[in-house]
């Protein structure tokens, strides 16, 4: 038996944020994971399996980036606890793979010196060595290794060829019988320890590295514009505006195609299947229901493409820099910009990304306002209502009125998020601890096409999976509610008037009537709790069954005939605020560890939604848009 020999090696990847650790992890394991340029994007535990040159199995853990083992945020706590073997669920790593950006070694080497006190076998990987060499940085590897007392290897994480040498070295070092490993004598470093470690790192750099004094000129030149007090803000606003126009305009051809495909499928099922319950189920419940959600895939992908590219480029940290004071006025941390921007795609990754905010108060405020950011699931609802009720006329020659209304809804979401956090800061947080805003602005890097496409593919799959499971089952439920019980023989009213859906809708209607919602809207809001975009499909199903199986007719046209303009506006206002997403509430519970913040978020959003819809409806009525 060779059982002793085939023990897996547990190796942990450690390094500062932006050192390319995640890219190296991907190259080593082939695992698909987010690679980004923003400090602290790795928030979850990522592990993967790889085989070394000798065929040994390695369990590799990617730890969140950290500047020190002190643990200043939930992220950094995890890194420290894994390395020190403090986590009950994890056995301590056998080996530390310490990653450093070869173009930016000062801070990284200080961390290496701190890590040496843990007394685990260690290997230092100098990442992005190609960029460093191109800039004329000359690193004497043997000297560096000797001065540091840690073996050193170079790598280029983004190229597969750059890691073979690394795998050999892992074999060499991890394969050595280590004997008894010394106990860690790491203690929380005091300021004097940090100073001493930094001096030691600077000494090592002077001994082993000769670098030209010139910084990355490309980054400097780009930043001269993008961080300019005026042009930088103009560029940021322009970028956001282009993003939203793109979501509206670029996606159109693809959406048209998907929509036609589902229409054809619906027509086919109507032709093949005999009239009756089965045909109604397939055509109204399945095809038009799922189709009306999948049609928004192109828009969601375009939005994610923008966010992924900006992250990988290194622009996100710049946006946080530009927005810090503006958000600070509303009581938000500059770092909250990234979670909030991610929330435009979906509040769930956004809320998870708040783990990079180390202050509890700032983090809770950000979590509470993140769902107000217009997530991609609201796009279907906005698109549909805008297309049905807002004429597509040009404004100022180039901008479309529909695009402007969409932009206005996004702006309303942002404005209310700022207002809510301002109020929360004034009235709920008694202690006014505002933590320091300190952030590395990494050099710009061209995004890796492969990694962006991989991420985009994952998003598409996640969305389709959602459409296939949650949304599909909700559609089946709403079809069932709208179709049963069947109308009695000889009834003259539409079949749906006798259904469960009508009963539920009429039961809620009195509460929602003051804000202009009829019973059809009331019933569509219920499945909308599972996923916001389902409300659109639900309305389609309810009206299709009511109208007697005319599912081929566009939902939008149907609504335009059924709703007043005031109701449409109230519906949009409701959707800006409504806490209509059970998964978001579930994530808030998980991230805050209790029901308190879930209930707070739910009720403040519900009240705002009701109030906003009420005011909108009443004002619209007064203007004669009823």
């Amino acid at each position: 038996m060779t059982a002793i020999e085939v023990n897996d090696w547990r190796i942990a990847l450690v390094g500062t944020p932006n050192c390319g650790k995640t890219a190296l992890f991907n190259a080593l394991t082939g695992s698909r994971q987010k690679v980004a340029n923003y400090a602290g994007v790795t928030v979850e535990r990522k592990s993967g399996v790889l085989r070394t040159a000798s065929g040994h199995r390695v369990d590799l853990i990617d730890l969140p980036g950290t500047y020190s083992l002190r643990g200043r945020s939930p992220d950094e706590d995890i890194t420290r606890d894994v390395i020190l073997g403090k986590l009950a669920s994890e056995s301590p790593p056998d080996f530390l793979l310490c990653v450093a950006d070869a173009t930016n070694l000062r801070v990284a080497l200080r961390l290496v010196i701190e890590l040496k006190r843990v007394h685990r076998p260690m290997l230092l990987v100098l990442n992005m060595i190609d960029i460093a060499r191109r800039r004329g940085v000359d690193i004497d590897l043997d000297k560096l290794s000797a001065e540091l007392g840690v073996p050193v290897v170079t790598s280029t994480a983004v190229r597969r060829g750059g890691i073979d040498d690394l795998l050999c070295r892992i074999d060499e070092i991890a394969g050595k019988p280590t004997g008894a490993i010394a106990e860690s004598d790491w203690t929380t470093p005091a300021a004097s320890d940090l100073r001493a470690a930094q001096r030691e790192a600077d000494r090592v750099i002077r001994a082993a590295i000769s670098e030209p004094a010139k910084p990355d000129t490309w980054t400097t030149r780009v930043d001269a514009v993008l961080l300019h007090p005026v042009w930088g803000m103009v560029a940021l606003l322009l970028l956001l505006f282009v993003m939203f126009q793109a979501v509206f305009a670029w996606a159109e051809p693809a959406m048209e195609l998907i929509s036609q495909g589902f229409d054809a499928l619906g027509a086919l099922s109507a032709a093949v299947l005999p009239d009756g319950l089965l045909q109604s189920f397939i055509q109204n419940g399945v095809i038009s229901g799922v189709g009306s959600v999948i049609v928004f895939l192109p828009q969601i992908l375009i939005l994610f493409l923008f966010i992924l590219l900006l992250e990988d480029l290194g622009y996100m940290a710049r946006a946080a820099f530009l927005m810090d004071r503006i958000m600070g006025g509303a009581g938000l941390h500059g770092r909250a910009f990234i979670p909030l921007l991610s929330s435009f795609a979906c509040a769930i990754p956004g809320i998870m990304a708040t783990r990079v905010i180390d202050n509890k108060r700032d983090r809770l405020t950000t979590i509470m306002v993140a769902p107000l950011m217009t997530c991609s699931a609201r796009i279907p609802v906005y698109t549909l209502i805008i297309a049905a009720f807002v004429p597509n006329q040009p404004v100022l020659g180039v901008l479309g009125l529909q695009g402007l209304v969409m932009f206005g809804l996004y702006a309303l979401g942002i404005f209310s998020a700022l207002a809510v956090s301002f109020v929360a800061n004034r009235f709920f947080w008694r202690d006014s601890a505002t933590p320091p805003f300190m952030l590395e602005l990494p050099d710009y890097k061209l995004p890796q096409l492969r990694s962006v496409l991989m991420n985009l593919y994952q998003r598409a799959m996640a969305f389709l999976k959602r459409a296939g499971t949650t949304i599909f089952s909700m559609m089946v439920l709403i079809w069932f509610l709208a179709s049963f019980p069947r109308p009695p023989e000889g009834a003259t009213e539409p079949a749906i008037d006798f259904s469960l859906a009508a009963m539920i809708g009429r039961w809620i209607e009195p509460v929602l009537a003051p804000i202009g919602f009829n019973w059809q809207i009331s019933v569509a809001l219920i499945p909308g709790m599972a996923a916001r975009e389902v409300a659109v499909a639900s309305l389609g199903t309810v009206y299709a069954i009511e109208g007697g199986n005319e599912a081929a007719e566009q939902v939008g046209q149907m609504l335009a005939g059924q709703w007043s303009f005031a109701t449409a506006l109230a519906f949009l206002a409701w959707y800006v605020f409504a806490p209509q997403c059970a998964s978001t509430l579930a994530v808030i519970k998980r991230e805050t560890g209790g029901w308190r913040w879930v209930l707070t978020t739910f009720f403040y959003m519900l009240s705002m939604a009701y109030l906003a819809a009420f005011v909108t409806y009443r004002v619209a009525l007064a203007l004669g848009w009823g």
């Binding site: 500047y67 007090p229 810090d324 503006i326 006025g329 320091p436 805003f437 300190m438 602005l441």
Partner: protein, 105 residues
């Protein structure tokens, strides 16, 4: 804070980085956090600055200023760019380049 290694430069020759304008070039002479900042302890702020490589002797240059109230600032610290608010930068005492050159020799 009571680090024996801290170079005690004459306070008159050092100004806080938090008051410097864009284009300022100099060298860190001391990290002196005035006191607890709104709930964050002085020693925590000091350690955070140190962890970004802002130690005595490091060369600093203000590259950019934020759009509102010239805050925050982007500081080049020996080849790394760090964004921080002026309030925290008040703790970074700097001497101008000539002064730094003299003390270095």
């Amino acid at each position: 804070m009571s680090d024996p290694d801290t170079r005690t430069l004459e306070a008159t020759q050092a100004t806080p980085l938090g008051l410097a304008r864009r284009g300022f070039c100099g060298r860190v002479s001391a990290i002196m956090v005035g006191g607890d900042h709104l709930g964050v302890s002085a020693s925590e702020i000091e350690r955070r600055l140190l962890e970004f490589g802002i130690v005595e002797g490091a060369s600093v240059q203000i590259l950019h200023e934020g759009p509102v109230g010239r805050d925050p600032i982007a500081v080049r610290v020996n080849g790394t760019t760090i964004a921080l608010r002026r309030r925290e930068a008040m703790a970074i005492m700097v001497g101008d380049h000539d002064q730094a050159a003299k003390t270095a020799t």
